[in-house]
């Protein structure tokens, strides 16, 4: 082996990628040729050092959640019944969602604490999601996972509401026009749960109304969709990953309230909500 040949193979040798014969040949050359041996030692020390010191760009916080949200948008889009937000997936539109992300950053301070909490919770949801595939979750568990994910996403994506208004007479017509049912919308400001707005969401294979209420600095998502006729069900309370879920059914609708307020607050919310419902 000549020195030129040895130098050509040096990087392959350094990376342990030579075939056994070439490997043996270059090792023999390095034993016999001091010049090449020194060149190799310097080169390998340098490359290893550079390799170690090269900055590694880990994914920034929030990117994982952004990806997960976009995958769920993608699914929602696929269904012909979907009325969910129309965010197509190719590049030009990516710019749109990028801008909304940037807007979220601009308005970042007021959302930061939400985003942080939400990120932690979302990580827990993912962990939770992995296990059930092995042991088939019950329908409620599966739905609870979707509900929490929707709640978290609404806080994170800075997309709490499609129609932001504390006026039930603004929120209701907007929702009525978008849905194939007419949810009841009541303002509960006087009871300490002001209405923030409404949003379309997609749950359990159907479009649903999400009414957003506020309790001090916390938000409550109230998901509403028509109840199956004759369905009777006791209230359900689920606590998961620091979130409270409360489910009830009346003669017309399924309700799922999701929030990080206390269980007591959520119970109180349900009570005042039912009290304010128009008599039918």
């Amino acid at each position: 082996m000549t020195c030129d040949e040895a130098i050509k193979l040096m990087d392959g040798y350094l990376d342990g990628e030579l075939d056994p014969i070439a490997n043996q040949t270059i090792e023999q050359h390095l034993r016999e040729c001091q010049k090449c041996d020194e060149a190799y030692k310097t080169h390998s020390a340098l490359i290893r050092s550079i390799g170690k010191a090269t900055p590694y760009y880990k994914a920034p916080s929030g990117l994982r959640e952004r990806i997960q949200a976009s995958l769920r948008e993608e699914i929602a889009e696929r269904s012909p019944r979907s009325v969910s937000r129309n965010i197509p997936s190719l590049f030009p539109s990516l710019i749109q969602s990028k801008q909304s992300e940037r807007r979220a950053v601009l308005f970042g301070t007021q959302w930061n604490w939400l985003a942080l909490a939400a990120a932690i919770v979302l990580a827990a949801i993912i962990a939770f999601n992995l296990a059930p595939r092995l042991r088939r979750p019950g329908a409620d568990q599966f739905l609870a996972t979707q509900l929490i994910a929707s709640h978290v996403r609404s806080l994170m994506a800075n997309h709490l509401t499609d129609v932001a208004s504390s006026d039930q007479h603004t929120v209701k017509p907007w929702l009525d026009a978008k849905l194939d049912f007419a949810p009841v919308v009541v303002d509960l400001s006087s009871e300490g749960f002001p209405l923030v707005g409404g949003r379309l969401d997609y749950l359990d294979n159907r479009p649903v109304a999400a009414l957003v209420y506020q309790r001090r600095k916390h938000f409550i998502n109230l998901f509403v969709w028509p109840a199956e006729s004759g369905s009777v069900s006791a209230d359900k309370r689920i606590t998961r990953q620091g979130y409270q879920l409360l489910h009830w059914v009346d003669s017309d609708f399924n309700y799922w309230a999701v929030s990080d307020v206390s269980d007591n607050d959520l119970q109180a919310f349900k009570q005042v909500f039912e009290k304010q419902l128009p008599r039918r």
Partner: protein, 176 residues
């Protein structure tokens, strides 16, 4: 397909692909040299990967994902900075580095992350990606050839040229 089935598909896709998020972002960031572009490309790449996930039967999820990240990165690079792709390679190999700077001096500065970053960023994209894939992900030549879509025999010579160029640029910065 039902919504529920799709939800489960997303779950298994995420299980296989999200562990490679850092690798995906690192590659995109080196290729694009810009935080915002890197994040957008990674998001887009994950979406593309999800759409073609049914066609993924291999065991090497990382290599498969990185291939998509790379292709998506080049889509944006071609769009935005065609000039980056036309950078001509210097075919010459300077194993000993810059004439005026001794190997010992380069070695002294070889732990200077900022210096390495600056020198790396000056390299053509083909060099940046191959260095990231080998030095940071520790991928084999075979994996690199699949991701960068070059013949396996080309990996070693391109890597050698990339390293030589990097050393040259480091030396040039030190002699300033």
């Amino acid at each position: 397909m039902t919504q529920r089935r799709e939800q489960e598909d997303v779950g298994s896709f995420e299980e296989v692909m999200l562990p490679h998020l850092d690798a995906a972002h690192n590659l995109a960031r080196w290729l694009l040299r810009n935080d915002q572009d890197a994040q957008d490309v990674v998001q887009e790449a994950y979406l593309r990967a999800f759409k073609s996930f049914a066609g993924f039967h291999g065991s090497n999820g990382r290599a498969w994902l990185l291939t998509i990240v790379r292709n998506t990165s080049y889509t944006l690079l071609k769009k935005n900075r065609a000039v980056d792709l036309t950078t001509t390679f210097d075919e010459e190999i300077h194993v000993a580095g810059h004439e005026s700077v001794s190997p010992a001096t380069i070695l002294e500065h070889s732990e200077d992350a900022e210096l390495i970053k600056e020198a790396m960023d000056e390299l053509p994209s083909e060099f940046r990606e191959i260095l990231a894939l080998r030095h940071q992900e520790g991928l084999s030549y075979k994996e690199i050839s699949e991701i960068a879509q070059i013949p396996p025999g080309t990996v070693m010579s391109r890597l050698a040229r990339a390293r030589a160029k990097l050393k040259e640029y480091l030396a040039a910065r030190m002699s300033k």
